[in-house]
């Protein structure tokens, strides 16, 4: 066991939990109407709790226990056989288990941004629970748990495919079945508390250091460089968004700049252990730019009410980063270098295969899950409940009694 690495991954675990609780919850919570803020916080919090238990019961084992290229076995369910002295690499396995748990928490929580202000709480819980078992854990096994995509050499350092693409695609699927918010797209209310969104975004940024630099599973130069490129891409994505808004509207907005940050971070995620500072600048640029236009495409052209832009930012960002890494990993861009025997082209082919596989699986499985949930508990609250807001109608609470 390596104490220094353990110290850093214990810390990273805290940082990644912090990303969801309260980071992501606040990021999303500030963007909805004031009568739905608690319901969004509740979605994130309750998913986090449930995901933790599911991860213990079976998720971790499906993802990381030995098994087939498609699925891990159940021999580690309930952490059976894992004690204080069990190791995963040079880390105590309990630490690795916890670090990975925080990823299994944030991924379904990302999807929350797709369906706020109109979904039934029961549907959130049922969908998220099944989704972890059917989509998240298997895909994790494919890529990080010794499965077929990892075997092919897919590069996904911290979850461009595992986290962002799965969440983004499933978000889109759920919205298509669930439908738009009443009044979309013309009569919506502006974000009720952009400052809350900024607080959450800042926590996401800080926590992402644990996410990406923690994914090195060591306190060394790999982690250091992963942290540096993560930061550079976040800053670049923010500035890109800021500049677009400044030019287009004359008024760069806080909500805009933090959205650019998330785009930059989602995009660098798969690449963070492989590219150098140059690559990070390019990725931040690409992430900011493409995600900006993707938001417009999904919301305004296609009129799909992916309410807080989960697909346009996470799905698209994760996908771009996954593809770009095939080139930027090369030493000519200051990256760590392609694997032996790989060319940019062949690596790109591998990346594309991974992307398509994950996309298709997320899409198909999520669609089936949504339909099951719809049949079992229903997806949508009544019009009156939507009008009054979910805080009171689903949770019996009021956000602000000032």
């Amino acid at each position: 066991m390596d104490g220094a690495n353990t110290a850093w991954i214990l810390t990273s675990t805290a940082l990644v939990l912090f990303m969801t609780l309260p980071g992501l919850a606040l990021f999303y919570g500030g963007l909805v109407r004031s009568t739905n803020v608690l319901s969004v916080l509740m979605h994130c919090f309750a998913i986090a709790c449930m995901a933790s238990i599911i991860w213990l019961v079976a998720g971790y084992s499906i993802a990381f226990a030995e098994g087939t290229p498609w699925l891990g076995g159940l021999q580690k369910a309930f952490l059976m056989g894992v004690g204080k002295d069990s190791l995963a690499g040079d880390l105590p396995e309990a630490v690795f288990f916890m670090f990975q748990m925080t990823f299994a928490i944030i991924t379904p929580a990302l999807i929350v941004g797709a369906y706020p202000e109109r979904i039934k709480f029961g549907a959130v819980m049922l969908f998220s629970g099944l989704w972890i078992l059917i989509v998240y854990a298997p895909v994790t096994h494919w890529i990080w748990g010794g499965g077929w995509l990892g075997g092919m050499g897919v590069l996904d350092f911290a979850g461009g495919l595992v986290v962002h693409l799965t969440a983004g695609v499933s978000a889109l699927v759920i919205v298509v079945v669930l439908g738009s918010r009443r009044g979309f797209p013309t009569e919506l209310r502006p974000p009720h508390n952009p400052g809350m969104t900024m607080i959450g975004a800042s926590m996401l940024w800080v926590g992402w250091f644990g996410f990406n630099a923690g994914s090195a599973l060591a306190a060394n130069g790999d982690a250091g460089m992963a942290m540096a490129v993560t930061h550079i891409s976040a800053a670049t994505g923010s500035l890109v968004w800021l500049c677009i808004e400044w030019v287009k509207f004359g008024k760069p907005s806080l909500v805009g700049v933090v959205t650019g940050m998330v785009a930059g971070l989602a995009t660098i995620t798969p690449a963070s252990g492989f590219v150098g500072p140059m690559g990070a600048l390019i990725i931040g640029l690409a992430g900011g730019l493409v995600c900006y236009y993707a938001v417009g495409l999904i919301k305004h052209k296609l009129k799909i009410d992916d309410s807080l832009d989960v697909f346009a930012v996470h799905g698209v960002g994760g996908a771009i980063g996954t593809l770009l890494v095939a080139f930027l990993v090369d030493t000519s861009f200051g990256g760590g270098g392609l694997a032996e025997g790989m060319t940019m082209g062949s690596q790109f082919g591998v990346q594309l295969t991974g992307l398509i596989a994950v996309l298709v699986w997320s899409l198909v499985a999520s669609f089936i899950l949504v339909k099951i949930v719809q049949a079992l508990v229903g997806l949508r609250v009544s019009d009156d409940e939507e009008l009054e807001g979910l805080d009171v109608t689903s949770h019996g609470e009021t956000g602000y009694n000032l």
């Binding site: 963007l31 797209p185 919506l188 209310r189 502006p190 974000p191 952009p194 808004e245 509207f249 008024k251 907005s253 909500v255 805009g256 959205t259 900006y292 938001v295 417009g296 919301k299 305004h300 832009d309």
Partner: protein, 112 residues
């Protein structure tokens, strides 16, 4: 007695209050309202979506006064609250049938 309601620019509240207090009007009640009128609100853009905020924040003040000074009160409000720009607001005057001071039960102008 008259009951005077004025819709004014929020930043004029202090000045109006002082102006009235010079007239001997010591009490009034203010509240925040949203004004819709010739002065338009503004546009906000979040992630490319536009939201039109079609109201303007205003302050409503309510002043009960004796008939004798009602006119001077109206004049004062009008003078002090005026900036000459669209959106300065309105003054409305009503007949007040009765006024009571809760603390003492006094009625009429003595209650003000």
């Amino acid at each position: 007695m008259k009951f005077i309601v004025a819709i004014i620019q929020p930043f004029k509240l202090d000045a109006v209050r002082e102006g009235l207090s010079e007239l001997g009007v010591e009490g009034l009640t203010a509240s925040e309202v949203r004004g819709f009128g010739r002065q338009k609100g503004h546009r906000e853009v979040y992630r490319g979506s536009e939201y039109t905020i079609n109201y303007v924040p205003k302050v409503k003040i309510e002043i009960a006064v004796g008939d004798d000074i009602a006119e001077r009160v109206v004049e004062t409000v009008q003078n002090v609250a005026q900036t000459g720009k669209i959106g300065d607001g309105k003054i409305f005057v009503f007949e007040l049938s009765e006024a009571i001071r809760i603390r003492t039960g006094e009625t009429g102008e003595g209650a003000l």
